[in-house]
Structures are given as structure tokens and as C-alpha cells.
């Protein structure tokens, strides 16, 4: 009986197509990834077992850390509109460049009177500038109250939606300032808000 010979095949596979697909996907993921922006102040958010995902639009975040409060609203159009309303309220005019810078900056923690000077700093100095945080004194209409109020108005004008508000606090932050922030919210009858946490993985 003659032995059946199995033809030897080369093990090399043409990887070109696979490589193409892999890089296509890679490009897609890189482009769709949101660049991580540097917060002006470090905040280690507390852990919880909650799994509700933070909304990406029509959302405002109040960052609380080291006794300072920073304000952010998602979306460049909303930031611009918010500043317009604030500028009207405080009778402080801003130049078109200021609006542009403000809508590109995520968190802001400047008192209204110093905001203009802050926005006119060169980019490099601005990111390094130690912002003092938004004043949250207990007067009836403090600046934080106005920021939140303006952002809510802006969202109503631009998108006709109710702005959702999240508090991103540092775990070690002492409670009194959190209470001030919550009372600023409650004064304008925002009784529902989100506490931003990260998921507890170890049981």
C-alpha cells in the first residue's frame, strides 16, 4: 500500500486584511474616546454600590475638594449661554474671545469679578493658575446659586430640557461646604441631584 502523503502547507497566513481591520478599529476607538481633561483640583470620589451612569449631556457638575467649589456644565453651547446670562446678571461684559475661552474650559472656579482677567490670561498661565473656587457664602443669592440658576436657564433656552446636577466631591472633604452647596441647590428647588461615585468592586 502506498502511503498517503499529506501535502505540506506553509503556516504563514496573509495578515494584511487582519492588520487593516485591527487598525481601523483602533482608529475608531481612539477617535471616539473622550480625551480626559485635567480637573483643576484633585478629587477622589467616594465608592458606592450604585450603578446609575452619569448622563453626558444636559448635565452640570459641581466639583468640591479642599474646601473649594468648581462649576462645570457639559457642552460648549451651554457654557457660552450660561456665561451670557451671568454677564447680564452681574453687569460684567465679556469679549467674544472670553466667551470662546470660557466655553472651552471645563471647570471654572473664579469669582465673577476676577473671571474676566482669568479668561484673558495666556493658555499656559491659566491652567496653572490656582483658582480660589466659586464663593458659596450663605447670603441669599451667592455666586454658586447664580451659576447653577444660569446654567439651568441656559439649558432651558438651548435644549428645552431640565438640567441635571451632580456633585463630585472629594471623599475626605469636610461636610459643611457640601451642606452649603446643597442649600444653594435647595434654594432654587433642585431637590433631586446625583452624587458622583465610583463603583465599589470588592465586597
Amino acid at each position: 500500500m502506498p502511503r498517503v502523503k499529506i501535502a505540506r502547507k506553509s503556516t504563514a497566513i496573509d495578515m494584511t486584511a487582519m492588520c487593516d481591520v485591527a487598525f481601523l478599529l483602533l482608529t475608531f476607538f481612539i477617535l471616539s474616546a473622550k480625551p480626559k481633561t485635567q480637573d483643576p483640583i484633585k478629587a477622589e470620589v467616594p465608592f458606592s454600590t450604585s450603578v446609575t451612569v452619569v448622563p453626558e449631556a444636559d448635565f452640570s457638575t459641581l466639583l468640591i475638594s479642599q474646601g473649594k467649589v468648581f462649576f462645570n456644565v457639559e457642552g460648549e453651547d451651554l457654557r457660552k449661554k450660561t456665561l451670557e446670562i451671568m454677564s447680564e446678571k452681574y453687569k460684567i461684559p465679556f469679549s467674544p474671545d472670553d466667551y470662546k475661552t470660557f466655553s472651552n474650559t471645563e471647570y471654572s472656579g473664579m469669582p465673577m469679578k476676577q473671571l474676566r482677567g482669568f479668561l484673558e490670561l495666556p493658555d499656559k498661565d491659566r491652567t496653572a493658575y490656582p483658582q480660589p473656587g466659586i464663593p458659596t457664602d450663605t447670603t441669599d443669592t451667592n455666586e454658586l446659586y447664580d451659576w447653577i440658576h444660569s446654567a439651568r436657564l441656559a439649558d432651558k433656552y438651548e435644549h428645552d430640557k431640565e438640567l441635571k446636577i451632580g456633585i463630585k466631591g472629594d471623599a475626605q472633604q469636610q461636610y459643611p461646604i457640601v451642606r452649603d452647596v446643597i442649600s444653594s441647590l435647595q434654594k432654587q428647588h433642585v431637590d433631586r441631584f446625583n452624587l458622583i461615585t465610583s463603583l465599589k468592586t470588592t465586597k
Binding site: 450604585s50 451612569v53 463630585k168 435647595q186 431637590d191 433631586r192 452624587l195 463603583l199
Partner: protein, 177 residues
């Protein structure tokens, strides 16, 4: 041909410059490996790292109509003090002795479950109402932990309220303020 001519442009002596024919096959395995590794990295960092949030509903401050009298024996008060300690009591301050506990699972959660069961048994299945009173010395983390434990134990009726002077004295007495 799609190859680079690297032989230089010297053709002075009129002789033909011959380029060597090389195989154009390149081993792409390592490149594909790298690409997939990066893909995995980007997938993991974009979708799994979304921040989570916990909804907090505060009672409306101006709403006077919904306020109703609640049996004091149904309410449990948690006073959040310093050094990650808290104390709790049932009913009005001073009537029942407060107990100092920590935020750990076997202390806070156990107390909540036990008291909830006890109150349900004595009040025809009515659930316990929890009032959380954070002091100035407590941290934001403490508040989030308590709210999270209440979510886990499934106690719907809770509120965050400011502390009264009597309760502050209790905390001071127990060395938590």
C-alpha cells in the same frame, strides 16, 4: 514597482544599475498583535470607566403641606461624627441611649437591618424612617457611605437634616465632635 530605489542616481559610466529584487512580504503578526492590544486597552478605558452616580432626593424646604406627624418610635437618627464614627438612637434624643458604631458592614448595616426588622414587627409592617444628621466634623465620604448602606438595606424613607444643639451635645459627650 512599489519599491524605493535606494541605489543612488549615479549613471556616469552608462552602465545599467541593477536593483536587487526582494520579497515584499512582511511578517505582520507582531503588528496585528500590537494593534489588538491597543484596541483592548481603548475599549476597556472608554466603556468601563464611566463614573457612576447615586441619586439623592432632598425634601423640599418650603413644602409645608406634606409634613405629617410621624411616630417617634419609628424613626432612627444617625449622627455622623468625626474619625469615621457615628452614633444612632431610636426616637427623640435623650430618651434612648445612643450607641456609637463605625461605618463597617458588620456594624452599620447590621444595626440598620436589625432595627428595621424590629420596627416592622412592632408597627404592623411599617418601615423604619431614617434621619441622617451629618455634623461639621463628618466627611462627604461618610454621607455617601450611609446613603449607600440605606440603598443596600432598601430603606426608602430617609432624609438628610441639620443637627440640633441637643444632638450636638450628645456627640460632644461621646467624643465624636
Amino acid at each position: 514597482m512599489a519599491e524605493l530605489d535606494t541605489s543612488g542616481g549615479g549613471k556616469k559610466d552608462g552602465g545599467k544599475v541593477r536593483t536587487k529584487k526582494k520579497a515584499v512580504r512582511v511578517d505582520l503578526t507582531a503588528m496585528v498583535d500590537l494593534a489588538f492590544l491597543l484596541i483592548t486597552f481603548f475599549i476597556l478605558t472608554t466603556t468601563l470607566n464611566k463614573p457612576k452616580s447615586q441619586e439623592l432626593i432632598m425634601p423640599d424646604k418650603d413644602d409645608k403641606q406634606t409634613k405629617e406627624a410621624v411616630a417617634e418610635t419609628k424613626t432612627m437618627t444617625l449622627l455622623l461624627g468625626k474619625d469615621n464614627k457615628l452614633e444612632w438612637f431610636i426616637g427623640l434624643p435623650g430618651k434612648t441611649a445612643p450607641a456609637v458604631i463605625s461605618y463597617s458592614k458588620d456594624q452599620l448595616r447590621k444595626t440598620l437591618i436589625d432595627q428595621n426588622a424590629k420596627i416592622k414587627a412592632t408597627h404592623n409592617g411599617d418601615p423604619m424612617i431614617v434621619i441622617v444628621k451629618p455634623s461639621d466634623k463628618s466627611t462627604y465620604n461618610n454621607v455617601v457611605t450611609v446613603m449607600d448602606e440605606l440603598n443596600i438595606v432598601d430603606i426608602e424613607q430617609r432624609a438628610i437634616v441639620d443637627m440640633s444643639p441637643v444632638e450636638l451635645d450628645l456627640l460632644k459627650r461621646d467624643g465624636l465632635y
